[in-house]
Amino acid sequence: MRLLLHLVAKDLRRKARAPFAFVAALSFPILFAGMIALAFGGGGKLPKVRLLVANLDEGVVGSAVVSAFGSPRTAGMFETTRVTEAEGRERMERGRASAFLTIPKGFTRDLLDGRPVTLRLVRNPSEGILPEIAAQTAGGLADLLEGARRVLSAPLLRLRPYLEDGIDSAPADADVVAIALEATHAIGGASSLIFPPVITLRSELFGGTEPAAEDKGGTGSQIFLLVLPGVAVYALFLVAENAMRDVLTERTLGTLRRQLAGPLTPGTYIVAKALYTCVLATAAIAVVSLVGWTVLTRPVSLPGFVLVSMALVLAVAGTAAAIYGLAGSERAGATLAGAIFLAMGFLGGGFFRIESLPPGIRSVAPFTPLYWGTQGYRALLEHGATLSGVARYAGVLIAMGVALLGVGMAALHRSARAGTAA
């Protein structure tokens, strides 16, 4: 044991003197998740959609559309500016808005007559997701107007003269009563469909439960939460790869040969390298977890977290050992590891949430340790899973880790002996 610790201490000291690869691997998930969160979450608040509206319609529906973007539900998302068509085009050309909505002339009249009408939305592609929000909202609004037109077609026909003339033109009292009665009948007829609605949409996260708790950070931290586990697990593989590569680095340096010419067996040497890899991976988890905890500030089951982490450490060490055990040289190992980890990142849900991937890829994902690590952390972070809730993930990781470590260490043992005999 003393010898093992002596070897690990030497490797840690070397790593401390040349920490670039370790720091780069660790920075990757934090920067990646942070940048995604900043790009799409603004560090806690979405930036407002700067919407230009040119309302060429004289009627009330056009005004209603404009008002919809300033309603209490949407006011936090939109910064609406009324413009003329020319002003709108000019501002868009200068990139001064996220999107430009044009409500055409005669929009109200055509809608009431049942003629096709078009709301025109021009999006600014440099604004990322923001124009898409405007498009989605406008699309929803169009659907809403269409539904209302169909249900309230009769009373709206009565209202048409007033609507076309604008809201300043008020109907007579008798007309108001008649229209109100007709509208009540129409809504009553449709009430069995809309009160309560027959179709409800319940949106929930994959796994069947709602998030464990609200974050203080808002949207930004939510996005950080979505991205971090996958890229953090991916980065852990990079850390392990860098550590295990040291077997072949030492072979090149001649220090492996020199050590094995001393009172050290190849087996002890390889076990020490695996131990060193585990220590580095554990340190990496600690750092990323600290950052994650600082940003997310959500309670997580500590025993569950420790179990998944330790199982993952075993799995990443095993994967790296297997890769470098089977690789003939340092360069071949690095190339092989890069390709395998990248494939795992995509297939195992490291870069994209597994739910968003095509079914074919989803069926492959469980064959990668990255998938089980990512899902384990997501269960802890998103669903508040406890120790028993992550036992399945940890179990698979441990099984994969033991198998890969066995194969890898046997191959590295052979490689170490061959390297010293050369």
């Binding site: 010898l3 030497k10 340096l253 020199r258 010419a261 009172p263």
Partner: protein, 309 residues
Amino acid sequence: MFDVRGLVKSYGPVRAVDGVSFAVARGELFGLLGPNGAGKTTIMSMLSGLLPPDEGRILFDGIDLASKPLAVKAALGIVPQDPALYETLTARENLNFWGGLYGLSGSALRSSVDRVLELIGLADRARDPVKTYSGGMKRRLNLALGLVHAPRAVLMDEPTVGIDPQGRLNVLDAVRRVAASGTTVIYTTHYLDEAETLCDRIAIMDHGKILAEGTLEELKRRVGGRDVITVRGAPDLSPLLPRIDAMPGVTVASAEAGKLVVAVDGSGRGAVELLSAVLSSGLAIDGISIQPPSLSTLFLNLTGRELRD
């Protein structure tokens, strides 16, 4: 201390070591001299337990290396041909690691590290990262790493290859001091002068075999008083060869563009005949040198060719 019997090692069809046997006494500085590819490093790999021989056995203080490798390895120090160092660590950290690997710790480790740092003259640079060292300093540290645990025997595999003259002198001086302290040293080299000035006994190797073995004086006696005459001159000295071949007691060792090496009996007659032939040939001659009997002449006699650096 070392008793090596009938070592054989082949790489495919190539017999790198072919039935090598020798013995090294305690405190002796034993040299393996031979050109590159003679099999010296393969023998060192087998002596250090890194490479199992195909045939033969190695006894160290009566212990069979094959049966108790760790026990033997713990008593040996290794100085590989190329420096095997951790460049991001300091010299002291390197020495601490290698000393610890052999079981040293605490004050024993500290004093041992201080001792070898003094020996190689790097005490004042001990806290600098090795990557800031010159090539010569790295060679000296490479030597120190093999000595830090005060081994009973040290295997040094061409420790002065690729080193500047001053660094070479420093390393050779350190090797002498190690040997003077009573440590057994097996030293491989292809430099004749190193073997001549350092070693108590020398084994001359070529093509995986030991051709001759003994002290320097014993080996010189084996030369039998043959001088080596080197003629330098015209690009093509081949017109001389038929006449030289016909001379009794004269052997052409090598003939190449502008250079002819010939071994002649030490009686003087052969040399005179050769010089007459050369001078009367009409070829342009730049210079003629005569070397007295030495390891170089012995190697020439044994192999029919020169031992080159």
